[in-house]
């Protein structure tokens, strides 16, 4: 494995200096006392991911963002499985942006998938170097040496050397060729429920999120942005804002007007006192009603062909029964718990940012472009993310902070209010789908056509945005006749990834419509799916597991119904069965049973947490609020009108997985898509009311 070794000591030294002696977010290890931090700073790099200190502390470098997925823990498991270190000796740091780590960014539930080989390899390589160092020291053949619990053992003499004692010699040895990796039967860590390494720091307030960064002489800023997407500042009067005690400066930036003060609250107060005149631009009259009219109009015309199987038109014409339906989903905001924020410090020769970001490499690039500093002189420090859900894969807020920081000579923290976060998001696009489906004389589905009218997810390509149709195509089934068309609707509302992306709405559309076809044919919804899954044994196994655990087909209390949904996304196969009742038009979700085949399960407890979390995201989207637009402005602004699930609404959730030897699939976005359709289908089972529009509103 070829690695460019990070000059870690240099890196730590400069960071510590910049932070006034505080180690800000670089160390995640639980309860690392300052003296321990000093000691660990002597760690020697064996490769880009494994640094070992003479004190036996093992520093594992995490090159993926931690936004709750358990990445720090699961990636450490991959490294430690091969490294054979003691779990208690592990400390972690987030990786800097250097070529050693490639393009740093977390999206598509890819952290484990993309690291599965890479990090086990890095752990094994470091282990082999340590064994070589020990063999040299003893003057023996390395074949009689073995690594075990942070030591190398001489199996002939029984002598032992700790990794710490070997670190210095090992760090000078050449990196060996790729060693053989353990077979799964030899795993000690992988497959066990290891406690999260970041929990202790997250129960005592010491975990450093982006918003928690404090630097010497740091100032605090907020930005008044155009109320209308794409609007520009015409003029502003800062007289009153400047009079607020603590205000240092008011400056115009590309996105609006920034107020810089000596604390966040003063900046917020002064912002309220600003008078800004806006050129609202081309989107000033955009409204949700107008967007829907556009969708309806576009859906009346053929779209670009996204997928054609068989001959759907002919099959529909000759079908014994034909069903038509229109499905809709709204714009959604991400609303992570930690509002967006970024600290930036720009000097004449350098630019440094501290951010909770999913996209460090893009962050470095936008910071370089905005500051005019060469990328090599831009440093990105990654902090814990208080949620991301795709929002923090965008770097607009980082570029903006750098622009604000250019106005002053000291570091500046730009904090977004919750209203800023909800009204200046890049949204999960709304979508409108016209379906036709046909069933044969025996009642089985034989044809589906779907015309998807949806803004692009921001990729801006002509023809088909494959993201906007994913879930309808590809889908888990073998449908003999399928035609999927895409009509791109341009609305002026910015869009981007949102947990599970296109599947977040298309799985609802597809799975709910399939339920309609099953009902029209008088078939059991699980039976219909089984019949269409002949080519997908992994999806079928997940369905069968969920059906068995949920007691599909067994009697329920009066008024309750069960609904099923399937999704194959991010390399995993997920089946869900929801149990609901409806009381005075209010939906109660009592229980969700989820079965997943995500390949090898690295950390079972972590997988279960992610399934539960993904279901929570899906339930909020299914049952709570939408983003709506009026005069080019987002109507919602905070958790009072963009409501999300609270504790009293959290259902019982059971998680199961299909044992698998396949390489890991993703998990962070596996369970979100299937929630709305499982709930909608359960509502139909309980009430015979068909839900075709999200969020679900009955009566």
């Amino acid at each position: 494995m070829s690695v460019a070794v990070v000059n870690r000591r240099q890196f730590l030294k400069s960071s510590a200096a910049a932070a006034g002696g505080l180690i800000v977010g670089l160390r995640l290890g639980a309860a690392l006392a300052p003296e321990a931090a000093e000691a660990a700073a002597a760690a020697l790099p064996l490769n880009a991911f494994v640094h070992i200190g003479t004190d036996d502390l093992v520093t594992l470098i995490i090159h993926k963002s931690e936004m709750g997925q358990g990445t720090v823990t699961s990636l450490s498991m991959l490294l430690a499985e091969e490294l054979e270190c003691r779990w208690e000796s592990i400390r972690n740091e987030f990786a800097p942006v250097t070529p050693a780590y490639g393009n740093l960014g977390v999206y598509g539930s890819n952290s484990i998938r993309s690291s599965w080989q890479q990090l086990r390899q890095a752990g094994a390589t470091a282990r082999e170097i340590l064994i070589s160092a020990a063999a040299q020291q003893w003057g023996v053949n390395r074949s009689i040496c073995r690594a075990e619990k942070g030591t190398v053992v001489n199996t002939t003499s029984g002598a032992r050397l700790t990794y710490g004692a070997l670190a210095e010699a090992a760090s000078k040895l050449p990196v060996p060729a790729a060693p053989t990796l353990k077979p799964s039967s030899a795993f000690k860590l992988i497959g066990t429920s290891v406690k999260r390494l970041d929990t202790p720091a997250k129960v005592d307030g010491s975990a450093q999120f982006g918003l928690d960064v404090r630097l010497p002489n740091m100032l605090y800023a907020v930005v008044e942005r155009s109320p209308v997407f794409g609007g520009k500042v015409v003029s502003f009067d800062a007289t009153k804002a400047n009079a607020v005690p603590g205000v240092k400066q008011v400056v115009q930036v590309s996105t609006g007007v920034a107020v810089i003060a000596d604390n966040t609250w003063a900046a917020m107060e002064a912002r309220r006192a600003l008078a800004v005149t806006w050129d609202e631009g081309a989107n000033a009259n955009v409204s949700s009603a107008g967007i829907r009219d556009l969708f309806v109009k576009l859906s009346g015309q053929p779209g670009a062909e996204a997928r054609r199987v068989g001959d759907a038109a002919t099959a529909l014409a000759s079908a014994a029964k034909r069903i038509e339906a229109v499905y809709e989903a709204p714009y959604l905001a991400h609303a992570p718990m930690e509002p967006l924020n970024c600290v930036a410090h720009v000097t004449s020769t350098s630019c440094e940012v501290w951010a909770s970001t999913q996209a460090q490499s893009s962050a470095r690039d936008i910071a370089a472009r905005t500051s005019g500093i060469a990328p090599a002189n831009v440093k990105v420090n990654t902090l814990f993310l208080g949620g991301g859900f795709g929002r923090r894969a965008q770097v607009d807020y980082i570029g903006e902070a750098v622009e604000v920081a250019k106005a002053v000579s000291v570091p500046v923290k730009v904090t977004w209010s919750r209203e800023d976060d909800i009204r200046h998001d890049l949204y999960r696009p709304a979508s409108y789908v016209k379906f036709s489906g046909g069933i044969d004389a025996a009642g089985w589905p034989v044809a589906i056509t779907a015309r998807v009218t949806c803004p692009s997810f921001g990729f801006g390509r002509g023809g088909v945005d494959s993201t906007a149709v994913e879930g309808i195509t590809p889908n888990p089934y073998e449908i003999p006749n399928l035609l999927v068309e895409y009509q791109r609707a341009d609305t002026g509302i910015p869009t981007t990834y949102w947990r599970s992306v296109g599947y977040s709405q298309n799985t609802f559309f597809m799975e709910a419509f399939l339920d309609e076809l099953a009902a029209a044919g008088g078939k059991d919804p699980v039976e219909v799916r089984r019949r269409l899954l002949a080519g997908s044994p992994r999806m079928l196994a997940a369905l069968n597991l969920a059906a068995s655990k949920a007691g599909w087909g067994t009697p329920l209390p009066a008024g309750r119904g069960r609904g099923v949904s399937l999704v194959n996304n991010i390399g995993s196969f997920t089946a869900q069965i929801a149990e609901v009742s409806v009381e005075a038009n209010t939906v109660h979700v009592h229980k969700i049973v989820c079965a997943v085949d995500c390949g090898v399960v690295v950390n079972p407890a972590g997988v279960a947490s992610q399934i539960v979390s993904g279901i929570g995201t899906g339930l909020s989207a299914a049952l709570k609020d939408a983003i709506t637009i009026d005069h080019g402005r987002v109507v919602q602004g905070n958790f009072n009108n963009y409501r999300v699930m609270r504790m009293n609404e959290a259902p019982e959730i059971e998680v199961y997985w299909v044992p698998s030897e396949n390489a890991p699939g993703g998990i962070g976005e596996a369970s979100t898509p299937g929630v709305a359709p499982a709930v909608a289908n359960a509502i139909f089972a309980a009430t015979k009311t068909r839900v075709r529009v999200l969020p679900i509103r009955l009566g």
Partner: protein, 157 residues
């Protein structure tokens, strides 16, 4: 006019406008960043602290109103994560992203002081003001029951 109060057991004096929310005094003026900003309008609970033992949203609390009172933040709940609620949180491995957890823990600790043996319904009522976007709610509920047991077995709440 300096405002004096007790913060995590120690005397604290701040010279800031009395209308400044306690949240920002804690975070920006004093530098205790364990208390989080989430919504600024008392809707999410991320900023929950205890004032004289009551769970209180610090974003909705003018600092002048805490003069002479006892303010406890996550940093002051225990010095070594040994408060029963923290022990239970670690045992159950509750946090995911973790951003809301300071507020959840402060609300849970206040609940257990008033109601040492809460039912699920008690917990749901007490914790409804605290949002978790990672949906760790069921784990939180389980951890509150566990903290209740730990307290009964002799941990000081």
């Amino acid at each position: 006019m300096p405002i004096d109060f007790t913060l995590n057991g120690k005397r604290q004096s701040v010279d800031v406008p009395g209308t400044m929310p306690l949240l920002w005094v804690l975070r920006d003026t004093i530098g205790l960043t364990g208390t989080k900003f989430g919504c600024g309008v008392g809707q999410c609970g991320a900023c929950t602290v205890q004032i004289d033992g009551q769970a209180t949203k610090s974003c909705q609390t003018n600092v002048s109103t805490v003069a002479g009172k006892r303010v406890t933040t996550i940093e002051g709940l225990s010095v070594d994560r040994t408060h029963p609620v923290q022990r239970a949180w670690i045992e159950i491995d509750v946090p995911q992203c973790g951003y809301c957890q300071s507020g959840q823990i402060m609300a849970a600790a206040a609940l257990l002081q008033k109601t040492p043996k809460p039912t699920d319904a008690d917990i749901d009522t007490a914790m409804q003001g605290n949002i978790c976007r990672c949906a760790t709610y069921r784990a939180i509920r389980q951890a509150i029951h566990r903290a209740s047991d730990l307290t009964a077995k002799g941990g000081a709440a």
